[in-house]
Structure formats: C-alpha cells, structure tokens
C-alpha cells in the first residue's frame, strides 16, 4: 500500500468536508477497497473512514418502504426482522454475500459506490427500483444510478447516505456463485410489483448490472418460470473470462431467472 492520511469523521458533515480534497477516498466496509489499496491500484492522499458516522447506519420503515442507511453492514440487513418480513429476498441476498467476516464489515453503500459488475446488491437495487440518497441531497432512481462497470451517477466526493427499497408483492434473488471469489458468476433479481415485474442481472455484462426487458415483459404477462421459455439473452457484451464464456453467462442468466421466479413463488 502507498501511504495515506487517515481521517475518521464522526458526522456526515465532517465527512463531506474531508471529501473535498480531490485525492481523498471514502472507506466504507473496506472489503474491496483495502485489497485494491494493497495492490496499489488506488493511491488516495487521505482515506476518509465512514465507519464512525452513526447517522448513515440503520434500518427503518419510511412511507411503506424499507430505508437502509449506507453504512449498514450486510450481516445487519440479513438479520433485520423488518427486512426479513417485508423483503425476504433482500435479507437472503445480504446473507449470501461473500462470507461471514465480509458480511460483518461490508456495507450497502460501499457495494453500490463501487458498483462491481459481479456484486449482488446492485441487482437488488435495480431489481426493486430503489432510490439512492446522497450527501449532495440528491435522490437518484436506480435506473439512473448504475452507469456501467464501476461507474455510477455519484459526483466527485458525493457519498451515499441511504437507500429506499420499495416493498414488492414477491421477489427472489438467485446467483451462481464463483466459488473462489464468492461473487456472482451470474445472478438475477426478480421482483413482482402490482402490474409490473422487474428483472435485474448482475455478473454477466461488461456494462455492469442491467435490466432485462424481454424477461420483464414475459413475466408481467405470466409470472411463471415457463413464461421465460423462448426468452434468451444474446452473448454480445457479456463478460468472458476463465470462469465462463459470454455464451455461458447469457445462458446462466436465463437459468437463474427461472430459479428466481420459482423461488419467489
């Protein structure tokens, strides 16, 4: 690691101030950032540790939605009685990110700010049509937030503060785990709302998480795994690496989508 100064703001206001340094970087759970720093792929002058900011932590119900603070750890989302009751698919997703020690540190905001193309949370945020709130006072719709692999709508120094998740009629997330990294080799989040179905795919595209309109249309007409017969993703733009070809991932998305619809019931 290159050397850096370490700031530990106690409030969001202090964190916003510290992030004004253009070479500062925010540290959430650190489960991706710290390995990145070790590889010297990032060289911030100051690391702004967000873990001491109480106001961006916690889970509450707001206007019929589940509002989760950006600093809330995966284990807390997984164990939350409110999340388990209202959006069990989200609790299940959080309970299967990485391993227990990663879930004890990793946060919702950190995952979304990083927007790894194989991360789980982006699939839930896009699949549920959640709203991302930021330190700049913006409320960004999920459809506008994800802008490509590791690219988001966040501006310079802008921090995620919380995410509002609408409560679906039913939903499920299914992923095929890449066993070494425990990221999704491909994962699909399916959510059925009154009159509409949303399907988000992670781990598959070189452009990061994306919605699958053909699957949404078929499932809106008939919410059953069979409705996806004949609906297939093309391999164009899919990730190809030693774990799987673009064709394999495109196929896997269909398999995971069917499993998710079946699991949602």
């Amino acid at each position: 690691m290159y050397a850096f100064d370490y700031a530990r703001p106690a409030s969001l206001a202090e964190a916003i101030e510290a992030m004004k340094d253009e070479d500062a970087k925010a540290l959430a759970g650190g489960q991706t950032l710290i390995p990145t720093l070790k590889q010297r792929l990032a060289s911030p002058t100051t690391l702004v540790d967000l873990n001491g900011i109480a106001e961006i932590k916690g889970i509450c119900l707001k206007d019929g939605m589940v509002a989760i603070g950006a600093g809330t750890r995966h284990a807390e989302v997984a164990d939350s009685a409110d999340v388990q009751r209202l959006i069990p698919a989200l609790a299940h997703l959080a309970a299967h990110i990485g391993d227990p020690q990663v879930r004890n540190r990793g946060t919702l905001g950190g995952s979304l700010a990083n927007n790894d193309p194989s991360a789980c949370y982006p699939a839930a945020v896009l699949g549920l049509g959640a709203t991302v709130h930021t330190s700049a006072g913006r409320a960004i719709a999920a459809d506008d937030y994800f802008q490509g692999m590791f690219e988001t709508a966040l501006g310079e120094g802008e921090l995620i503060t919380s995410v509002d998740f609408p409560v679906p009629e039913k939903a499920a997330y299914m992923k095929f785990v890449q066993p070494a990294s425990r990221f999704a080799l491909t994962g699909v989040f399916v959510a059925k709302f009154l009159g509409a179905v949303r399907v988000a795919v992670t781990g598959a595209s070189e452009s990061g998480v994306f919605r699958w309109p053909e699957a949404e249309k078929a499932l809106s007409a008939n919410f059953s795994a069979g409705a996806l017969d004949g609906v297939a993703l093309g391999a164009d733009g899919m990730i190809g690496d030693l774990h799987g070809t673009p064709e394999y991932r495109a196929h896997l998305a269909g398999v995971m989508a069917r499993r998710a619809v079946t699991a949602a019931g």
Binding site: K38, D49, D99, R182
Partner: protein, 162 residues
Amino acid sequence: MTKVSMTVNGKAVSGDVEGRTLLVQFLREGLGLTGTHVGCDTSQCGACVVHVNGESVKACTIFALGCEGAEVRTIEGMANADGSLGVIQAAFQEHHGLQCGFCTPGMVMSAADLLSRNQNPTERDVREWLEGNICRCTGYHNIVKSIMAAAATLRGEQVAAE
C-alpha cells in the same frame, strides 16, 4: 504516525501506527501477538480472523486506526484464565480439528462467533459459516466435528471423543 488505542484480550493497549497499518500488523508486529496468522493477505483464507467488538472480521482487511477504542479479541484471548485450553480449542485438540495448525487460530475465532450467535448449529450451519476459512490439510471434516462438539459442550452435553 498516529497513536491508536484499543482493548486487546481485555488489556488496554496503544501504539503508533501509519494510516495504512492493518490491524493484523498492529497485533503481530506492534503487540507481538503472533497467534493471528496471515495466510493469503487477500481476504480469502481467514487465518487472520479476530473479533472486533464481538464480531469476527478478517484482521488483514481492516485498518488499525479503524479499531480505535474497539474491543479486540485474538486467539491468545481464548484460553481459560488458568491457561488451560478454552472449550473450542480443547474440542479442536480432542477431535483432531487441526493438522499443520496454520488456519486454526482463524477457525477457532470464526467458530466462537458462530457459537455466540447460534448455540445449536447444524452441521450445515457450521460448514456454511466456515466459507471464509480455508484449510489445506484436514478436508474440514474434523474441524466441523470439533465445532459441533464444542457447541454441545457449551450447551452442557457430554460428548464422547472418537
């Protein structure tokens, strides 16, 4: 250098660290607590698992300064007050839960976190919980057996060793 203070195994400690000093470096090099191992240094293997404020974390993927004021527990804090092995450690010895022993500190610390949350885990619970702890010797079978036995002992049941 910045001064960091925390409680490690019940003892107040402090030292001067850089921003980039990892908790595991502070424990091993700063405090001489070399029971916490560095296996992979890439957050994969779990040999460095310790508890921070009661929860298991990978000490190679958290900064020392991030633990300012925290309660840290390492494998050195797992023995009984008289120096004899704690319940989980004794179960690993009894059920051959280790061979080379490199992964063992992390296994024991992970197991302790599981058993603090779930007093009656199934074998499947144990295997899933150990997803972040890699062992290259045992094939995991006896590690799982050790943790199941430790859980039973902690519940006050008698366990026969094989």
